[in-house]
Symmetry: D2
């Protein structure tokens, strides 16, 4: 396995997680709270904050050079996908939808890379 | 499925997660840093802080009434088990070992209960 | 200065911070989101989550044996007081009001004790 | 008061806080843990993690459009200054020293701007 590829993939995943945390938290606390209505519907609003927190925890695991991020990446990807779907359904939340999709795909790539590494080893 | 059983199991899991976060963070930042040596060996020390953070995130998901805690509980249990093993190997960290085992088992029970609920429904 | 008094005061403050974090987060994400209306008014809802986060950070500083908690305790007390006032104005949030007042008073006591310690030394 | 200036100052402060959190956490968990010795001396290591956490909380307050960030900015600046001094004394931590100084100065500017706004109003 090319270590360089793994490092680049992880560096990219860290960036997407930090961005997704930033955008979801900001959108929830500004746009959603100010808009009200379906934007503060419990299921949607909780998902926004849960997504922000899971991205932060996942980023924190990567920043700490923990090999456990393979575990957190899988959950992070799933939560991001659900958050993207919820934001897309509500509408007018394109930045959040995109950040969640980018983060989910990046987490998936990192998990796939680690599975490949183990298969090769 | 008996909602009462599910609520009690979740309430108990929340308590174990909050305790495990508290004990792992305190042990790492006081006992481990003051002891040094194998206590600050990177793999062990990162695991202690990662475990504290994952327990906190899992607790946060439960406090927010998010149904996504079924996803985070599985990862939390796995990280707690690894932290318990690492603490047991180092020795003199009984409180931490016990908190991690209690938390892992409680997370496992909650995941099993949700799987049972879905099977019945 | 009696170290025993300082340790007991800090232990008590840690407990109040952990409780206040727990109660504010749970009330915001369950009661406030489900009730809507003035409960999800941006200023109030942000204050609830900010209060939960500051209590958690303050608790984290105490758990890590950091002497910097004297700095965070002052800010934590002020935010808890504002949160208590906002919750009292909205009504039906007695548990949250009480947790915030207890936490603020406990933080104040710890700051006062440290000021006294420095005066004696 | 020029709102544009205030917004730019806050946007900049948010960026410095997020960067400082990222750099302090990464340096502590990778460089410090791997180097050991004075790098894992309790006072220094706790300061690194406390600094990362306070920067994150301060960023979180800004992302949530909370006006309480004026309170957290003051404490954040003080903790960043102490972390910069501790890193400078240990040596070979230039990136961390710079990130802490930039963040402290940015927090100071935001606090000063708010004091000015209140004086003008």
């Amino acid at each position: 396995m090319n270590t360089h590829v793994a490092d680049l993939t992880e560096e990219e995943c860290l960036k997407y997680c930090l961005d997704c945390h930033h955008i979801c938290l900001e959108m929830a606390m500004r746009h959603c709270l100010q808009s009200g209505g379906k934007h503060t519907e419990p299921m949607h609003f909780r998902l926004m904050l849960n997504c922000a927190e899971m991205c932060q925890t996942n980023a924190s695991f990567m920043l700490s050079s923990s090999d456990l991020h393979v575990l957190t990446c899988g959950v992070c990807a799933e939560i991001c996908r659900r958050c993207a779907a919820s934001c897309a359904e509500i509408g007018e939340m394109e930045a959040c939808v995109q950040a969640c999709i980018d983060c989910a795909e990046s987490c998936d790539r990192l998990v796939a890379l680690h599975a490949l590494e183990e298969a090769v080893v």
